[in-house]
Amino acid sequence: MTDAQQFEAFLHNYQNMVFSTAMRLLANQAEAEDVSQEVFLRAYERFGELRESPTAGGWLKTVATNLSLNHLSRYRSRWSFFSDMSRGTEEDEEYEMEFAAPDDTHEVIAAADRREIVERALQSLPGAQRVPLVLYHLEGLQYDEIAEKLGVSMGKVKTDIFRGREALRRKLRLKLEELN
């Protein structure tokens, strides 16, 4: 097997993971594809080390996350990106505590459909809420690490994540109710 063939196999193994990371942060397929491409071109330059490395997946995920965040801060207005939080009456409303759909809904909706609904709800969140939410829940970063990566205060990160969770819960509940 030549180096190119080995790299192609490596690429096939990790392309979904890298693309998912970029897509969830950027919420834009074309941009996520560009970032994924750049991640793999960088990986090719270090393929000698990554080929046998057990941490290759982690390396790829970190590079995908960093390139996505660079992309967001470079190509979109940072001010609007971190300030487009939705405000208004939503914050004052009382919501039921239950987020997950009722058990019978679980039975009705196939798991794959449910994942797709969650995925779409996540991607429809504004960047200011989606990015910290993804970094916290999917990338496993702590509040202080997220604040450092995004260059904002930890208080803002906590607020944005809370708002993101609330928005996600509302969107998900609406969509699940539509299905019922």
Binding site: A4, F7, E8, L11, H12, Q15, N16, M17, V18, F19, S20, M23, R24, Q29, E33, S36, Q37, F40, L41, Y44, E45, R78, W79, M97, E98, F99, A100, A111, R114, R115, V118, E119, L122, L133, V134, H137, L138, G151, F162, R165, E166, L168, R169, L172
Partner: protein, 154 residues
């Protein structure tokens, strides 16, 4: 905001998001990446990034660069240790007659610096260099702090 509510919400979101699998990468991604890699492989080695050059050429280019740098350092050292900077300057100004005046000025300045170094003593010179370094670091630090502050305000 109710603390218990926050905890439940966090756990629910964690459960929902963790249940998400990987998305399917676009079909063309792999072909795109491999195409670019093939294109890059077709570029001659000397037009690629230095890190990707063959080891021998990397070593040779590094040796040439270090030799040039060493030669430059040696030249400057020789010049500074010459009996008189002005004497060397006269020789050089003969080569570059048009630059004579400029060179003389430089020579006078260098002579003054040499004289200062000889008369001031090492302590004063080290102190002066330290003051300059601290001043530079202070300017750099204040500039960085200002930029960060300005960016944070945006």
């Amino acid at each position: 905001m109710n603390h218990e509510h926050e905890k439940q919400l966090e756990a629910s979101v964690q459960r929902e998001l963790q249940a998400l699998g990987d998305l399917q990468a676009p079909r063309g991604l792999s072909a795109r990446v491999m195409g670019i890699i093939e294109q890059r492989a077709a570029v001659p080695w000397y037009r690629r990034a230095w890190q990707t050059w063959p080891m021998g050429w990397q070593a040779a280019s590094l040796t040439v660069l270090l030799t040039m740098f060493g030669g430059l350092c040696f030249g400057v050292l020789e010049l500074s240790q010459a009996a008189s900077v002005s004497a060397t300057g006269q020789q050089v100004s003969g080569w570059f007659a048009g630059l004579g005046v400029l060179w003389k000025t430089v020579g006078v300045v260098l002579d003054a610096i040499t004289m200062a170094i000889q008369h001031l003593g090492m302590g004063v010179i080290v102190g002066f260099v330290l003051v300059v370094a601290v001043g530079y670091a202070a300017c750099f630090g204040l500039g960085t702090a200002y930029v960060r502050f300005a960016m944070a305000r945006r």
